[in-house]
Symmetry: C2
Subunit: 325 residues, 2 copies
Amino acid sequence: MNKFISLEHGAGGRKSWELIKNLRRILKFTGSWENISDDGAVFALGKEKLVFTTDSFIIDPLFFPGGDIGKIAICGTINDLVVMGAKPIGISLAMVIEEGFPEEDFERIISSINKISQETKIPIVTGDTKVTNKGKIDKIEITTAGIGLAKRIIDNSGLKPGDKIITSGDLGTHGVVILAKRFNYQTKLKSDSQSIFEEIQSILKYLTAAKDPTRGGLAANIVEMAEKGRVKIVLEEEKIPFKKETLALTSLLGIDPFTLPSEGRFIAGVRGRYALKAVKILQKFNKEATIIGEVKKGRRVFLKTKIGSLKPILMPEGKLIPRIC
Amino acid sequence: MNKFISLEHGAGGRKSWELIKNLRRILKFTGSWENISDDGAVFALGKEKLVFTTDSFIIDPLFFPGGDIGKIAICGTINDLVVMGAKPIGISLAMVIEEGFPEEDFERIISSINKISQETKIPIVTGDTKVTNKGKIDKIEITTAGIGLAKRIIDNSGLKPGDKIITSGDLGTHGVVILAKRFNYQTKLKSDSQSIFEEIQSILKYLTAAKDPTRGGLAANIVEMAEKGRVKIVLEEEKIPFKKETLALTSLLGIDPFTLPSEGRFIAGVRGRYALKAVKILQKFNKEATIIGEVKKGRRVFLKTKIGSLKPILMPEGKLIPRIC
């Protein structure tokens, strides 16, 4: 029987893992590579570590409140580097553009990329531009890759019992803005799309593990951190900073807010005794930064609901997860 | 008046330069970046140089005699690094796949990538896999980025009067194979798609400049080398190793063979006194490696025809250049 690749393969949940098993076969340790993965690879360069990562973006809509495809492409790659503890040194920008794409829109995307590059002082250093026949691609596709240098790698497997789980701010807001725009639902929310470089740097020394919850949202990312760290995590429902409008819209659409992507937030593990201090520092950037749970001995992730019951949080399955990023 | 991006912007000729002027605005020197460009960026790391490059591939057909999209994506990035004098240390692989793409074809592409990675011992170290709704992309798009380390950067601006121009083998064969497949024209030719790492390494010390003539072919690449080196180049028509079938098909289609891409060849400058030696070494890999011209004082590129007249070679214009890579 012929098999075909389905949307579920790309949704960031369980099916994605199956598809990239193929990739994992070709991701081989060689020479000085200390760690290789989809998130980012680590190469030993003397006392420093070189981190290398990539991400593709084909999104709809291209422009949305708070950002556009250029902004999330650049911030996405910056953030993938910084959650690993690296200082990004340069980004590559490859674009495939459909013939007939308005130059004005292209200029807007380039300006947006330029703005982030200047604000973060992270340069775009190399690129590629291809133009395809009409219909070969829908408007524009952007792939960024990035390299960074780190003194210490923050691993997403580093959680230990006793750690607290913190978030740098409200979660899922990017996802809900994209959904709202697609469903023509009025909202004043703006995407959280941004570089988290400064935020991560401010509490780098306290971090035991970190991840930016993009595809698959908080659910996929917290489950991955628990599995890789071989620990149990208990999140407290009341403490998770979803915006009211986020909960209103996800409830209306029957979507689990835990699966909504953020594009400018991170979740992290911090040793228990530093958790309040770390959150206080993060609140200077975003006052919704907070402790959302804790790490225990055991396995799996649970949500302690408002009424005190424990509900398992699972890796999202199928294409119910909105394909937003 | 609204302006739209056209195919000419992506063909690798003059119009491409206009489009990427926008990009050049955002490609800024910062920190230890010594050189930044579309071809590859150079970062000083102690005594070594880190080279970083990227390329996107959306091609038709996906499979062709001698290769497939996976092979040219990996080889393309390896080759971009090695023509700059770098030893590739790792490649990233980002794929956007259309829903419904046959898993069998996906496996074939992954196997092909794996084969090159193992043969060259250059690992794929990080990646991204996105699946889009039907119609958002035509089958599959691949973007590779690569990093390499170099002791000495081979610049494509390094030509000096007295240098000889050499080619590592037959030119334009990849382009003619793709055209033949599209026009259903019978040929026994196979794409030249391959890694040129070993070939370049074997004569690295003799090189003054090098480039792999992909988009825009020999014409675009030799004009760029002449412009950047501020020299005149005279190529000898009789010495350029186009395959007989390449010339037959381009003549039939009215296409200039000088604009046809190769995916496993390089053209380079070598100091006059080392040219024969370098070519002899290269001929162990490909017996069509040869000297095709020389560098003089002055500007522009000329072709000395079989009857002895000088004909200017210009940067290809418009979409007459077949969009093949």
